[in-house]
Amino acid sequence: MRFSALRVFREALTGHKGWTPTWRDPDPQPSYDIIIVGGGGHGLAAAYYLAKEFRRARIAVLERGWIGGGNVGRNTTIIRSNYLLDGNQPFYEFSMKLWEGLEQDFNYNAMVSQRGILNLFHTDAQRDAYTRRGNAMILHGADAELLDREQVRAMYPFLNFDHARFPIKGGLLQRRGGTARHDAVAWGYARGADEHGVDIIQNCAVTGFRIRNGRVLGVETTRGYIGALKVGIAVAGNSSTVMAMAGLRLPIESHVLQAFVTEGLKPVIDGVMTFGAGHFYVSQSDKGGLVFGGDIDGYNSYAQRGNLPVIEDVAEGGMALMPMIGRARLLRTWGGIMDMSMDGSPFIDRTPVEGLYFNGGWCYGGFKATPASGYCFAHLIARDEPHPTAVAYRLDRFRRGAMIDEKGQGAQPNLH
């Protein structure tokens, strides 16, 4: 079923009786060519691109709960490609380009909105750092503009430009950055994968791997054993517990990241903005809520909820940047579980178990990566070689001294 304006019009005239379920609800078959574990954004995108771009195969996505119920439904919906390092920027720019064609590609309204992302700076040194970052972005084919104080004031006159300690001196703007409707991204990929014959099997938790002579044969699940030639894992947040079932320890800690939304307000912030002197970023949803977030709580957690000190810290960041936010009432806070890796960068790689592939370690940057992550994971699984933009995302990079540490924090996951 193809969505189009004509179709909506026709359904409106015929009592909306022609709409069918967006994806099937099949029972698992005894075996598949490829199983993707994890029905989140990355897993569904991987299945979609596998089926559509790489090869015709019998593919299943196994999801413990319902699809899109994990981090793809618990983020702040920002898309951007404003990284510095060689190992990251080409990948995120590839993702940005996929975002730009995504809705036409999978024929679903994911509300991709390139409303621009502005990283504010508050010191001369920070201006230098952001100039360097902007140049790196441009060299990798992305867009970047350095704005001075008055240009920022023209965009957001209500900011606290003359803060005694952190005056706003300008910002690095990526106009192609923005937001997307997070749930619709999962649904769009699920629908697209389903149309290409992928079985999406919900309420099916993987409880173990069947491995013989170093090769994966299939997965044990709550709905019985399912055989597979290849198994891809995309369960960020729970990567350590799932991969432990295959006997692997990962360079990852799980941490909780909180996010916040206020009551609906009239339009006030038309882009995405980040505070450069603390960890705070904000955008406004189409419903009017200010959506914002900050640091992770900083201790290992699988709880999907955080504690009050970080809420206070984020609120302080918001007050320092735009004091009027103090008049908005907080409607809701929530927490998601992040794979925090040892250098703040992700993994898309083979594992020591033949036929078992791993995608994870997304820290708190997984949403923007969804299209490229799915595409590169599909590329790796189908061809057994990494996609050119994801060659750096190897599990053995610490052993080789090839870390991709954007923040230069070292092997301390809660500081990335």
Partner: protein
């Protein structure tokens, strides 16, 4: 979260900074065994459930604490001085 400091009693977790898995107490000799040092530095068990972890009472008495905590519920099950843990493992200083 409130951490039951072995000397000072219940203290707000905000007074502490977090390092990670208490296994970090047992640092191997990186020159004698680089592979073990790689695992020590970069790999973690990261369990969902009971986790023993190092917290530093930075804004308090500056002692290191080994806290036992459930990572699924955030329930804190106990806390001891890290120096006692290290001594029990044969470290003299």
């Amino acid at each position: 979260m409130l951490i039951p400091h072995p000397i000072l009693g219940l203290r707000d977790a905000q007074e502490f900074t977090y390092l990670g898995d208490a296994a970090l107490i047992d640092r191997p000799d990186g020159l004698a065994n680089p592979e073990a040092f790689h695992d020590y530095l970069y790999l973690r068990d990261n369990p969902a459930g009971i986790h023993r972890e190092l917290w530093f009472h930075e804004q308090g008495d500056r002692s290191w604490i080994v806290v036992t905590r459930n990572t699924v519920t955030h329930e804190i099950l106990g806390a001891v001085l890290a120096q006692d843990v290290a001594r029990a493992r044969g470290r003299s200083r």
